[in-house]
Symmetry: C2
């Protein structure tokens, strides 16, 4: 039930919506994410970490388009007994991460409600037509990810640093066909790329960098790493450029196939097709 | 704790933030408003009306700058037993009002929480430097409002039509010095203009168009009418132009004075100073 508009080349279904900026050489991307007490964090959690997570999710969506972060608005919902100093510390967490990536909090609202919630809206900018979408993967592309996956519940889901600089670097490389951030788990999120690009994929279980075991790397959520596809001929040079820019890891974990919508995992000499049902079971959703 | 930026001429404290659009003849305005069950509407309320109110509040803020509405993002928080058809009807209410004013819903998110909430983020566009701010009122300006005030709780707070066309008309007239929308009651909101413009005001109780009595017109909230100030010499011609465009009422209700921060009400031959304390008592806040 979302809208269409001639100046809206990418609406719902990607990490951000992409809108044309008239009379400009830039496109503007828009995203929003909620962070809710006892859903996304436990009541009493360190407030700076809550702020980091709330704005980090938004910055990760902007990074997944390859865009430069721009403006942020923050809606806070809080119960009448909410501590003011806790709110200040949440804003400190928000502002620290924004400052790191050139984003600015320009407004928002405060309302009373049953529990603590943050709803952050963010915009980003990038050169016209350069947004990295989920729909661009091609058969033969290799599949790459930043950072290890899994077990983010042990702390990473609150303390992660969104891959903003990496996303901008990858967009500027002109070597990436499709990109998104991993928020719901590798298996679930890769399926979005497969569906929107009309392709399939084979993952090599040995090559997936893991915190924990394979199940956790495939199905845990909230890693906020970048998942992207690159034509095979470009991968070696991209990795060389990456290593001269970043100390963080970059892993080739599989390949895009013509097998529409089919996700397979190579595991100990066996090629298993990963059923959507299996994911639903594993993920507990 | 909100940010500053060279491309942010107006940050927190007005109806919207105003941001420069580089290489363009336009400024972009940003705002966000929450609508929460049992705070802004009663549980079980007609869902189309909830949607109308949620996006109407955002459109009213954009109208109060004199801007043309542009993009909207919608965060929905709902409990696990939320009816899907109710959500569809909320979106129908949102989309109907957006369509009327050329706004487009381009994204959003859905999360689980304790009760139904909508957080809508919106942008608008206007020619560079033309936003109508709270800070522009001058001594000698007359004070005008659209529509009658008070008793919105009887239905208007859900069914109101934001004054988008009127806001654009007033901006284009080049006759308005300061403008905002009335969401917290005339007395409270006029004080924002007084504070930010460094002026005072005298209201004529007889001239305030009322739904209900004077107290209700001064202190009830959620009327979403436009409150603005116009140099006295321009008022007659503005009213003539208004009457050729709109059938809705426009009322001159008072005058801006040099009496910094002082709000007085002329009532039955008596000039009363309205204490902030009195307002707090009346408003029940």
């Amino acid at each position: 039930m979302l809208g269409a508009h001639p100046a809206l080349p990418v609406g719902a279904g990607d990490d951000c919506a992409v809108c044309l900026l008239d009379h400009s050489e830039f496109d503007q991307v828009f995203t929003t994410d909620p962070v809710i007490e006892n859903v996304h964090f436990i009541k009493g959690e360190c407030p700076e970490r809550i702020g980091n997570k709330a704005v980090g999710r938004v910055l990760s969506d902007i990074a997944a388009m390859g865009a430069n972060p721009q403006w942020m608005l923050v809606n806070v919902v809080a119960s009448p007994d909410q501590s003011f100093s806790e709110l200040e510390k949440i804003y400190e967490g928000i502002n620290a991460l924004c400052a790191r990536f050139g984003a600015t909090v320009i407004g928002g609202d405060l309302a009373q409600g049953p529990c603590l919630e943050l709803h952050i809206f963010g915009t980003g900018l990038l050169p016209s037509g350069s947004a990295l979408l989920r729909s661009g993967a091609q058969p033969g592309d290799l599949i790459l990810i930043t950072g290890p996956l899994g077990c983010s519940i042990s702390g990473k889901h609150l303390d992660f640093v969104p891959r903003v600089e990496e996303g901008i670097f990858l967009r500027k490389s002109n070597k990436v066909n499709a990109m998104m951030d991993i928020s719901d788990g590798l298996a679930t999120d890769l399926r979005h790329i497969l569906k929107q690009s009309g392709v399939g994929a084979i993952l090599d279980s040995e090559q997936i960098p893991k915190n924990g075991n394979l199940e956790q790397a495939l199905f845990d959520g909230e890693d906020f790493e970048l998942l992207f596809t690159v034509p095979a001929d470009n991968v070696d040079s991209l990795i060389l450029e990456w290593e001269s820019e970043f100390s963080s890891s970059l892993s080739v974990i599989g390949e895009i196939t013509t097998d529409k919508g089919i996700l397979k995992v190579q595991r100990e000499n066996e090629l298993q097709t990963l059923a959507t049902k299996a994911f639903e079971h594993f993920s507990g959703k």
